[in-house]
């Protein structure tokens, strides 16, 4: 029962945390932990955060120590100063925007109600992107903050336009064919917004995602072909729920509208504007049997941090999964996660949650892929 203790370096710790050691190596490492309280307590602390975050922090610390050794000001103070500068810069930008807006309103005697139509027509083409593969985005929300999806794998992601809770209707520029749209996607890598490639529209990669306030986001990808057309946008008040749907199997049109009954019941602020829509032709995506609003409440009430994590203040997990024609949840794939514990919590919540209704296409039940975002917040 003897063990030879040796001092482990940072990479030993990181390999252990990341599960890169064999069982034998883990055992030897743990023997060292048993004999050395400094190492043991350090490991207990490092295990409180996902390994990626621990490594990130250690890298930052090495960098700061390097600066300190180079004779610069104490690094953490510098970081704090940088943070303050960032905050001041943001505050200055907001103030500048307010001033410009006020001047604009005064100069043109701006009347929001009269100008609504104009604004909608001019500003939203850039914010409401073209779709090429039929995507539904539903956002739900429990008063918590939500970030736009940033994973580059999201295809055909639609950013819901927003402006002062107004309903928006916009004739969009013709969409590009699917292949072109994919190249657009590549251009917009890292961004969650894709804008139509019409003249005068901003670069999609530079278009900021609209701020979100929720805790979960659902995103569904269909398989409809790309098609030119028009779309409708919609707004959600107080971020209750937003559902955006595109039915791109229309002849010569790409069309956004609210989802059918189950979804629409929860999307009280979504307004359908397209008049030529034939309900029977609208493919409906998979959705919780109890509706997204109920699902949102379920997530808000039951989402828990992994028990081993007592430090992280906020984390986001994006899961993609299949809803089979029978309504079963299959092939859960974490697209974004800070660690295994968070994936497990979100996955279990999904599996233990309300049943799902399968997607339908012309009344036929079909398989569907859904993406959900879970936001952990303390």
């Amino acid at each position: 029962m003897s063990g030879k203790s040796k001092h482990r370096n940072v990479n030993d710790f990181l390999r252990y945390l990341k599960g890169m050691l064999s069982s034998r190596e883990r055992h030897l490492f743990e023997r060292d932990l048993e004999t050395d309280p400094f190492s043991r307590e350090a490991m207990e602390g490092l295990e409180k955060v996902p390994p990626g975050q621990a490594e990130e922090d250690l890298l930052e610390l090495h960098s700061m120590l390097g600066e300190r050794m180079a004779g610069k000001a104490p690094a953490r103070k510098k970081v704090a100063r940088r943070r303050r500068i960032s905050i001041y810069s943001a505050a200055a930008a907001v103030a500048a925007l307010l001033i410009v807006g006020t001047v604009f309103l005064r100069l043109y005697d701006f009347n929001p109600e009269q100008a609504e139509e104009t604004l909608i027509g001019e500003e939203f083409p850039a914010a409401v992107p073209e779709e090429t593969d039929g995507t539904i985005q539903a956002e739900t929300v429990p008063g918590a903050e939500i970030e736009p999806l940033q994973d580059e794998t999201v295809t055909g992601a639609v950013e819901t336009p927003r402006q002062e809770d107004r309903i928006v209707h916009q004739e969009a520029a013709p969409a590009e064919p699917a292949a072109d749209a994919r190249s657009q996607e590549a251009t917009a890598a890292g961004a969650d917004v894709r804008a139509p490639e019409s003249a005068g529209t901003p670069d999609p990669g530079t278009e900021p995602a609209a701020p979100e306030k929720d805790a979960t986001t659902a995103r569904r990808s269909g398989s409809a072909p790309a098609a030119p057309g028009k779309h409708t946008g919609m707004e959600s008040q107080d971020t209750q729920l937003q559902v955006m749907k595109k039915t791109s199997n229309f002849e010569g049109k790409a069309l956004y509208d609210r989802a059918e009954t189950a979804l629409a019941e929860t999307a009280s602020h979504v307004v359908l504007i397209e008049e030529d829509l034939q309900p029977a032709e609208i493919p409906s995506g998979a959705a919780p049997a109890t509706g997204f609003e109920s699902f949102r409440l379920y997530v808000a009430e039951n989402l828990r941090f992994p028990p081993e994590d007592t430090v992280t203040q906020r984390a986001v997990v994006v899961l993609e999964f299949t809803i089979t024609p029978e309504g079963a949840i299959r092939d859960i794939l974490p697209l974004r996660t800070p660690g295994e514990g968070f994936t497990r919590q979100a996955g279990q919540l999904l599996l233990n949650g309300p049943a799902w209704n399968p997607a339908t296409d012309q009344e036929k039940k079909i398989e569907d892929r859904v993406r959900l975002r879970f936001v952990f917040k303390r």
């Binding site: 370096n9 309280p37 400094f38 350090a42 922090d57 610390l61 700061m64 050794m69 004779g71």
Partner: protein
């Protein structure tokens, strides 16, 4: 992984410390501190439970080294740094009135166990106490006994033990710690130290 090799990887902590104290070269102190910075961060994270505060603590402790090292006669830098780190966390918690029983946790952890005398008997290479050790292990509660045997005899890691015993790793560690404490008590009763 991190690149952490310094200019003097062959030098011991105490040699580097002596070099720093002789010349006041901050690079040397930085090299010494880098060897343990991840552990200082880990311990800070354990007690402060906040990444930013833990990072602040790491840098503040480095600054404290700069001022304190010349004023102390330090025999074992690593152990001294451990105590310094825990004291720093204690002060931070007290300042923020966030003790919540953590003071006891800090106090209960032994300062260090570097020398053979301070190691738990089960962690020492001492065959002369093998019989007494076996006897005491036999008197442990079932779960503690199983964890001790799986870890020390069968050389399984925490994860494997947790899977075999269908319990969380935290429980495994807890049974190991409690088992070792009871073993020590048992051995002391037999005058085995």
């Amino acid at each position: 992984m991190l690149q952490i090799s310094g200019k003097h990887p062959e030098k011991t902590d105490e040699e580097l410390l002596g070099k720093y104290l002789a010349a006041g070269d901050l690079d040397v102190l930085g090299e010494l501190y880098t060897r343990y910075m991840h552990m200082v961060y880990g311990v800070s994270l354990k007690y402060l439970e906040n990444r930013e505060e833990a990072k602040d603590a790491v840098m503040q402790i480095f600054e404290q080294l700069v001022t304190d090292l010349p004023r102390h006669r330090i025999r074992n830098f690593r152990s001294w740094l451990y105590v310094l780190t825990k004291n720093h966390c204690f002060m931070q918690l007290r300042a923020a009135k966030r003790m919540r029983g953590k003071l006891e946790a800090i106090k209960n952890e032994p300062a260090f166990m570097e020398s053979g005398e301070e190691l738990h008997p089960i962690d020492r290479a001492d065959e002369s106490i093998e019989d007494a050790l076996r006897m005491c292990i036999g008197q442990l509660r079932s779960e503690q006994k199983q964890c001790i045997e799986l870890f020390y005899d069968q050389k399984l890691c925490y994860k494997e033990i947790s899977e075999r015993m269908h319990m969380e790793e935290k429980k495994v560690k807890s049974h190991l710690q409690n088992g070792k404490r009871n073993l020590k008590i048992c051995l002391e009763k037999k005058n085995v130290r």
